[in-house]
Symmetry: C2
Subunit: 246 residues, 2 copies
């Protein structure tokens, strides 16, 4: 893997966004992708596709947050993934969307018509490779999430979610500012509950508890300040080495 300087702004719209591969984007495929690409914006709360819908594009998130979720008939819903800027949405080779996709905040997608994208994938093998890599990452994240859902307490779940968001946030903003960090929560309490398999009341109570215990500080309802990341990490119940996520 050759380490190439990586400008996220330029590359954000490229679904094969990755420092080593982006270099190649500068070559042929980028133009090819440009020809089939278009942007779309969504308002917070707006649905993007419903489970089962035909989906004739794939896309990458430019700005904002989207959620993938599955719903049961009686209204119970489980969020199964969270898409942050630079994440990929859609599945080459599949007609129907497998989950509901909703814009959690205001959102911009960079879309590619699916058929031409698939064609390109066949012709340029490294795109399929990259997509495989990304899918394996998503699979790992989904499985780490299974551990959270199946075996962690409410407090550990909240801590895990905060740690994951903090880590993601830190890796995007390149401010590796030691152990203290802060960010804006992109999710409502209800969305957090749907992600964690809890009720919104429990989410609220556990956030209050973490605040009371000095693990986090809140500024308003959404801004979270983490004075000591290691402390938060302990609250997650995980062993104390890194695990990637979301």
């Amino acid at each position: 893997m050759n380490e190439i300087v990586f400008d996220h702004k330029e590359c954000g719209s490229c679904p094969i966004r990755h420092r080593s591969v982006c270099a190649r984007c500068e070559a042929d495929e980028l133009e090819e992708l440009d020809a089939i690409k278009y942007y779309r914006s969504y308002e917070a709360g707006q649905p993007i596709v419903w489970s089962g819908d035909r989906m004739d594009f794939v896309a990458s998130v430019v700005t904002g947050v989207a959620s993938l979720s599955q719903a049961m008939e009686d209204g119970r819903t489980q969020m199964v993934g969270l898409l942050l800027p630079s994440d990929f949405l859609g599945r080459p080779g599949r007609d129907a969307a497998p989950y509901d996709v909703v814009a959690v905040s205001n959102l911009t997608l960079c879309c590619f018509r699916r058929k031409p994208f698939e064609q390109m994938m066949i012709r340029t093998p490294h795109v399929a490779q990259r997509l495989l890599e990304m899918t394996l990452d998503e699979l790992d994240a989904a499985r780490e999430w299974m551990l959270i859902l199946g075996r962690k307490t409410a407090r550990e779940k909240i801590a895990s979610l905060l740690a994951i968001i903090a880590r993601r946030e830190a890796s995007l903003a390149l401010t590796t500012a030691g152990d203290g960090m802060d960010f804006e929560l992109p999710l409502t309490r209800e969305a957090m509950a749907d992600y964690l398999g809890l009720t919104l009341e429990t989410v609220s109570r556990q956030i209050s508890a973490l605040k009371r215990d000095g693990v986090i500080t809140l500024e308003g309802k959404r801004k979270v300040i983490i004075p000591d990341f290691d402390r938060l990490q302990i609250e997650t119940g995980d062993d104390n080495d890194g695990g990637l996520m979301v």
Copy 2:
């Protein structure tokens, strides 16, 4: 996708085992794969790899059942996947195993040394394509499992697991015998508990309850008879159209 007659025995050892792709296996790659392939057997209960171990092979399951699981330091464990015959194990491009892999029953793997396999992947694009497809299926399965873990009751969890195993079993044995079906449970109560995020006592109680209510019949402790699959399906809480799985 061209529908070719599919002999599972011949193809079981081919990691690109799929009716449409198997046809191509008859050509070049099959020989190439044969050259780097070897078999390994494990006894029930035997570990195959531990999370974090270096893993220098990929494999496909020939016979038996293996489990993927994640453990917390204090002993809580969550099973995150179940590998049945014809499933693929391992990740091209990754050195370390991300989970513990254990043989649930006696198990035979058909292994390929990883490096040569990766080389071949680069040269033959349709293998990468197939692997991407398989990984997407696993991702869907993992996410359906997230719904089960996060939002279903204990009874629904058990019903879901039984329905999933029954469906898998039915698709392997080509006996599409209407609505009645039966199979041998490949998991202990404890393994089921680890899969479902429950305790083994709750698993036992809910199985007893389903038996009492006539949803299933047991023969011994492991053989499950499902007189009416639709009835079981209702107990899962899902909407009543198919959803793939495991």
